[in-house]
Amino acid sequence: MATGKIMNNGWADQDHVPGIKSELLELNMGPQHPATHGVLRLLLKTDGEIVYQVTPVLGYLHRCAEKIAEGVNYKQWVVYTDRFDYLAPMCCNHAYVTAVEKLMDVEVPERAEHLRVVTAELSRIASHLIALATFGLDMGAWTPLLYCFREREEILNLLERMAGGRMLYNYMIPGGVRYDVPDDSWVGDVLDFITMLERKKLKDYNDLLSYNKIFIERTADVGVIDEATAKAYACTGPVLRGSGVKFDCRRDDPYSVYHKFDFEIPVGTGEMGTVGDCWDRYMVRVREIEQSCRIIRQALDTLPDGSYQAIPLNKIVKVPAGAAYSRTESAKGEIGHYIISDGGQTAFRNKVRSPSFCNLQVVEKVGVGQMVSDLVALVGSLDIVLGEIDR
């Protein structure tokens, strides 16, 4: 264990008052705890405010989704991907259908690809808004939470008009999307919303939270994940980019129609402290919202006409025998789907690589030696979703 050295040389292991034995305090943070974003359990060993050991304990939200994939057909399993990262379900849909299509070798209509990109990016914005909100809440700032949820509500309304559901959409299917643009005003409403978000709301968040002196004091130089650690623990998404690595599947391994759009990849620069601190990870998300807005605008401006389903909705998807792996960039990082098909109606095996799972492991190393408050900041800045970790 990485913590052994500190524990042996540390303050806590010695008897400071003769005759009185001192020991580390074992503390269960979760599974019911306001700062763990779901049913995460962190087993802490602390010496007062200093954390000597962190062990994430998982499995409280396990629903056997991968096993279920062996029993339901390909189209039916899209529903389960919604429940992985329930804050950005469109991204999860997208990841899965990309893998199935790779196996089927089917040509997806251009219009469907554009709609997928738009909805996935809207989902990404919604997810990042929650990330900002809950991170602010972890830092004790209550008000940004309500502001972010107010904007997220708009996204939920837009996606509800598109897909029918407010939170879980089951929108994408292998070979296309389930529904076309709902009415004539939808595209205009989306454009209005992202313009409002870019021009006004992001500035509000920055004034209220990002450049707040107390917030910077709490997050700069805290929970620093350096580049080597981030790579060693296979971190992806904003956690990796916060550490200064310019890697994004949308650009470096393009899928769907992302190669057509012009956008930047924000990375952590250590603007307020060290590269890879909590503030960097937070700010990467704020800047990614801007980039997502850019992508949505381009995708809607060039929205082609035509069909939006390569396979009719009422047909069961037939997948030839074989195996395929696809990786896509979700709001939390890189989702990988590895599907093995034996030519039947259901997958023989479906393995999901979820970004939150890998991102969380890093607390075991970075959380050591931090204060309890900083550990809360670290976990908050990783922006994990337990539905995705346990599946």
Partner: protein, 351 residues
């Protein structure tokens, strides 16, 4: 108190009473009155807090109970909390667990005795009034430490340890910030401090000299920490320590902590008004029609300022909190004392 006892003497049936009897009767009436005001302010401020928070967060807050802007919500909550099951954890230290909320409440109730509501109207008109207030309100720390320890819960212990460290530390700048004012008045009597500020807004101590102005803000910051409210809500730290020292408390015992928090909040606001903001004097000289009302309105405005800060700023970390206290606020308040003293001597005000 003298006014009350002489008024009692005039009532039929009280005329033949001995002085001690009158004093005790008067004290009981005063204590009941103070407790009622305190409970009432907790109810009003809970509602106000939710409305202010709602306003800041672009939502409504309570809107239904009692029709008009949910004015009865806090009362309904109080009634509900009265009916809750009283749980004492099996492993808790029962005696301390039961006693802690009472001690917290007592600490803030005692301090209320010396608040000067209007000319001549103070429950206990002590010569050491201000000193007494600070002394009595520091009992709250013991209660919080007791609550955290006796709960036998690690999170509660964390909250209590943080709370004790924080409140003991912040009492120092809190008291130091009022010393420049005491230099000016030459008295710790709360009535005298207010009377010294007669004559309009420019005679209020906050605007007397620049050092007093700084001292006022130092007092304000320390008072937020003293009441354990955001951004200094270390003992509770909702997102870190679950609910801090009162994690294990339910029902009426929890309500006592709640009551004490708002009573304390109003108390420190009233002290700010009394010491720095002219007490019952209105800003324009000669317009002092309702001294007690003026005093309370100023106090409520200070409470509003407190709430505004709470719902706007993120929370500081424990070590940053201590740093702020010992390395920034105490030196600055000491500087204020020296600076204000020098100004007094050079302007000839010192006598």
């Amino acid at each position: 108190m003298e006014i009350l006892t002489s008024w009692l003497q005039g009532l039929p049936g009280f005329g033949g009473m001995s002085d001690q009897g009158l004093f005790i009767t008067g004290a009981v009436i005063m204590a009941t009155l103070m407790f009622t005001v305190m409970a009432l302010c907790a109810i009003v401020f809970t509602w106000m807090e939710r409305k202010v928070a709602g306003f800041i967060q672009s939502r409504y807050g309570p809107m239904r109970t009692g029709r008009w802007h949910g004015w009865a919500q806090a009362i309904a909550d109080m009634l509900k909390i009265l009916g809750k099951e009283d749980i004492i954890p099996a492993e808790a230290d029962k005696g301390l667990f039961v006693f802690a909320p009472l001690l917290v409440l007592l600490g803030s109730l005692l301090a209320w005795a010396a608040v000067p509501w209007a000319p001549g109207f103070t429950a206990a008109d002590l010569d050491l009034g201000l000193f007494y207030i600070f002394a009595a309100s520091s009992m709250v720390v013991i209660g919080i430490l007791m609550a955290g320890w006796s709960s036998n819960n690690k999170w509660a212990l964390y909250g209590a340890a943080r709370g004790a460290a924080q409140m003991v530390s912040y009492e120092i700048p809190l008291a130091l910030a009022t010393i420049p004012v005491i230099l000016h008045t030459g008295s710790l009597n709360t009535q005298d401090i207010v009377i010294a500020q007669q004559g309009g807004i420019w005679h209020w101590f906050v605007l007397r000299d620049p050092f007093l102005f700084v001292a006022f803000w130092m007092y304000f910051i320390a008072s937020i920490a003293e009441t354990n409210r955001g951004p200094f809500d270390m003992p509770e730290t909702e997102s870190e320590l679950v609910a801090g020292y009162h994690t294990e408390y339910t029902g009426m015992r929890f309500a006592f902590f709640f009551l004490a928090e708002y009573a304390n909040l109003f108390l420190v606001s009233l002290i700010a008004v009394m010491v720095f903001l002219g007490g019952w004097w209105s800003p324009i000289p000669g317009l002092d029609f309702a001294p007690a009302l003026t005093f309370v309105i100023k106090g409520v405005l200070m409470v509003f300022l407190n709430m505004w800060v709470r719902w706007t700023l993120p929370r500081v970390r424990v070590d940053q909190l201590m740093y702020l206290c010992w390395k920034v606020m105490i030196p600055v308040t000491l500087l204020c004392i020296v600076g204000s003293g020098i100004l007094m001597i050079t302007s000839g005000a010192a006598g």
